[in-house]
Amino acid sequence: MNARRIVAVFGAALVAAFALPFVLPSNYAVNVAAMILFTAFLGQSWNIAGGFAGQTSFGHVVFFGTGAYASTILQVAWGWNPWLGWIAAALAGGVVGLAIGALAFRAGLRGSYFALVTLAFAEVFRILANSAEFTRGGLGILIPSDPRAANLQFKDPVWFYWIALALLALSLAVAAWLKRSRFGAQLAAIRENEDAARALGIDVFRAKTICLGISGAMAAAGGTFYAQKYLYVDPSIAYGVEKSVEMLLVSMIGGAGTVFGPLVGAAVLGGVGEITRSFAAGQGLSLVVYGAILVAIVAWLPDGLIGVFARRGGARRGRDA
């Protein structure tokens, strides 16, 4: 548990990951790797609220989509630089997180009730985006292609790989901080037992709301990345339920509430996706396999894949929910 050694190992892994594209055989492989890192980042944003604080959300896409739309609209309709728009998008996601948190937690919603309310918010945002003028409804918004670094657009996919890597590294740092800080300890206490947390002087409402704000800002930053990569946003891309499920899935499979769980989960899901794609065209087969993996994990490895490696001292689970 030597902090200096952890930083050294982490740094070495970062350098290796940075150099990885140079040994990958094709742009396609770089793209797959970039999307794995990006999915790990999105998973981590979910994990901050769903894993560390136990506030399971089924609608995290509400932040992702808000980020995607915020930077895109600022850029296309208002002429903002997308880098600046990116920051605004993260802020917008944070504000939406704080607002949803304030409403849901003030109403005392916990567990599956909170999960359903987040799902409802995501759907409401999707319907709004589908009907509002400034989102151009179901048509979606095209970002004019002009691949320059200043425009946050790149011809060479390696740049998106590196940006995804930077996002992931940042999110890992946030998670590592939560593991070792007072705020993180408060979230863990809330996850385990809210009444006991309250009795020990934790402002549960405040901690949960701030946590959802951080989580929302991260997911929204992911939304901008996605929009800049594909240069297009529409309501089902931005607020489609698949992304919510994906974020939740990679965290649960890898290990919710752990620093590296989402990365492990994203690598496994990315690998499974590539393998199933080589067997059958379309999405069908990969979803079947994802489902089977999730069932297996929930049944036999409730701490996720990372729990297999991290099981120390014979400490066994005793989950109460």
């Binding site: 070792r180 800080s181 007072r182 300890a185 408060q186 863990a188 206490a189 385990e192 037992n193 009444d195 006991a196 947390a197 309250r198 009795a199 020990l200 002087g201 934790i202 402002d203 549960v204 001292g313 400490a315 066994r316 689970r317 005793g318 989950r319 109460d320």
Partner: protein
């Protein structure tokens, strides 16, 4: 130090707590006893902010804290434990106690040191790496105590920390509670284990059907007719007295 006046709380038609007055002087150990269902735990919950009282007031060192949120009351220095232990099951004992210690020590290293000190004090020094969910009943009771102590309270509300323990374990907890008081922490305790509460508390309040029916020193309470009848049924005191004569 703690001054409860006319505290009432009803659930539907049932007056769980009915115009209760409790005084806890600085540095004392005060007991709150009563038969099952007398309203002791509701009374605690209303004092500590977990249940809103319908009427009455709660003052801690002169500050009116009636209806405050529990975390603000904890910050002010009054912390409760739970009768049904509420461990952070998947965290280690060390992490559990640190949650309490973080209230006064925002920095991790200091919280860690404070937590280990408190754990040692309640005899959990050797269990720091155990998962709280794996503790025995006795271990969980101690953990409740350790977490609450780690918040460095001025007043500790102990809700049946001895229930379910064997005589040896009770003796150990009695010793720990004495030490806590010796360190200047005031204690209000709900307790069913009479031998413990009689030996620890200098003053006892007896609650029955939501009302305080007697208060006084342990010896007075043990001899109180109304108290005996509350526990053993009407006429019990007379029958006991009769039995003694016969």
């Amino acid at each position: 130090m703690l001054d409860v006046r006319g505290l009432s709380r009803a659930f539907g038609g049932l007056k769980a707590v009915d115009a209760v007055d409790i005084d806890v002087p600085q540095g004392a150990i005060v007991g709150l006893i009563g038969p099952n269902g007398a309203g002791k735990t509701t009374c605690f919950a209303a004092i500590a902010g977990f249940v809103q009282p319908d009427s009455g007031s709660v003052r801690l060192s002169g500050t009116d804290i009636t209806g405050w949120a529990p975390h603000r009351i904890a910050e002010l220095g009054m912390v409760r434990t739970f009768q049904i232990t509420q461990p952070f099951a998947r965290l280690s004992v060390r992490e559990n106690v640190m949650v309490g210690a973080y209230l006064r020590h925002p920095r991790r290293a200091e919280a860690l040191r404070a937590a280990e000190r408190v754990a040692a004090r309640v005899g959990m020094g050797g269990m720091l790496d155990m998962r709280a969910g794996d503790l025995t009943v006795a271990g969980r009771k101690r953990l409740e105590l350790a977490r609450a102590l780690a918040t460095e309270p001025r007043l500790l509300l102990l809700d049946e920390v001895m229930a379910g323990l064997n005589p040896t374990e009770i003796d150990e907890i009695v010793g720990i509670v004495r030490n806590i008081r010796a360190d200047g922490i005031t204690i209000l305790m709900i307790e069913h284990v009479m031998q413990a509460v009689m030996s620890l508390a200098e003053r006892i309040h007896v609650l029955n059907q939501g009302r305080i029916i007697a208060r006084g020193a342990p010896a007075e309470i043990a001899a109180d007719r109304v108290v005996v009848e509350a526990y053993l049924g009407q006429g019990a005191a007379a029958r006991l007295a009769g039995g003694a004569h016969g």
